[in-house]
Assembly symmetry: C2
Homo-oligomer: 213 residues x 2
């Protein structure tokens, strides 16, 4: 297994760290999602926070640094989930680990919905975005390998290309960012169970309808 690409070295942070930066980051992510990263200026962000532009620059050096922090949040979590499922000596069959990574992926997405939403909208327009896409590709490749291992085990149907199946499976997971409302009627356990039931029980050769473990 190859090592995941790491985040580029962060520039030194200016201003007060901690809570303040987290609040700035949360508002920035919301604005980036709502009106697009390119269309959002530091002046827009300062106005949304009720800060002057110079106070805002006290917290963060640039708009790009905010994007980088948001993408790091999503990618750090994603990488950890995928590493746990694909590390040598991880418990269970490949199929069981695939089910777990789908469930954990759903939970991760719900817990970090704004940051993941932003990650999924990144298209490589800047160095920061291209670095994020490279880390995302590492995640996608590991997931495709896990699908292929579950096929080789005989647990998943072998008549479909594992790369294609992996994209469809995690495409379904990713699509949750567009509509899932954590305060809505479907709780995260029901959601994770529905995704596994919808996508995996269809792929499993003769699998029982309920999860094996």
């Amino acid at each position: 297994m190859t090592s995941p690409p790491t985040a580029p070295t962060a520039p030194p942070r200016r201003g007060r760290p901690g809570h303040d930066q987290a609040a700035v980051l949360g508002t920035a992510i919301d604005l980036f999602i709502r009106q697009g990263y390119d269309a959002t200026s530091m002046a827009d962000l300062a106005a949304a926070l009720g800060l002057s532009k110079s106070s805002l620059y006290h917290h963060v050096p640039s708009k790009e640094r905010l994007l980088e922090l948001a993408l790091d949040e999503a990618l750090g979590e994603l990488t950890a989930v995928v590493e746990a499922a694909t590390a040598e000596g991880a418990a269970g069959t490949s199929y069981e680990r695939l089910r777990r990574v789908v469930e954990d992926g759903v939970r991760l997405l719900v817990d970090h919905q704004p940051a993941v939403t932003l990650l999924l909208r990144v298209h490589g327009n800047t160095d920061v975005e291209r670095a994020a896409l490279e880390r995302r590709r590492w995640v996608d490749d590991r997931l495709a390998d896990l699908v292929a291992a579950a096929v080789a085990e005989g647990a998943l149907r072998a008549d479909l290309d594992p790369g294609l199946v992996s994209r469809l499976l995690f495409g379904m997971v990713n699509s949750l960012v567009e509509w899932y409302d954590v305060d809505g009627p479907v709780d995260v356990d029901q959601l994770a169970a529905a995704v596994v039931a919808t996508a995996l029980d269809g792929l499993a050769v003769g699998a029982p309808r309920s999860a094996p473990g």
Copy 2:
């Protein structure tokens, strides 16, 4: 069945219609996708087309009108596919019609990938976007009804909420816009078959692995 909401009455078009407007629209959609609708100006579009701004305004009255044309393209096709599958007297069981609408949805998405991509990124910031979201909601409601009818028929597992299943199913279809390459190794027939196999064969109670019709 309720009637689909129709597009708002179009303002009269200025300039030469036909091929020229189609070319302008195609370039506009590409720019809107690449850099975001809000961040794209008519000056950007004129530059991308190698036109002066005044020549561009000869073709289209506004940036918003281009967005409306793009969304109409996607929504017109989507509405037609869903109407064909849900009209009174449509052939086949609800389950068969659901399979067909998934396959037709995949083909539609591939044939109109840029316009559908744009539609899926619309978040209701303007009247044009809100009208598009309303039409999209009509489509989503019809699809959820079709899933519910297939459950009632006994063809789909009944332990999951039909609205949730519909969102997951078409979330998988919609996620194709993010990665599918019509010039890549997977042709549209393989793609449609893989989506149906991945999502529906998992939902079908005791369904055979191959499509029933």
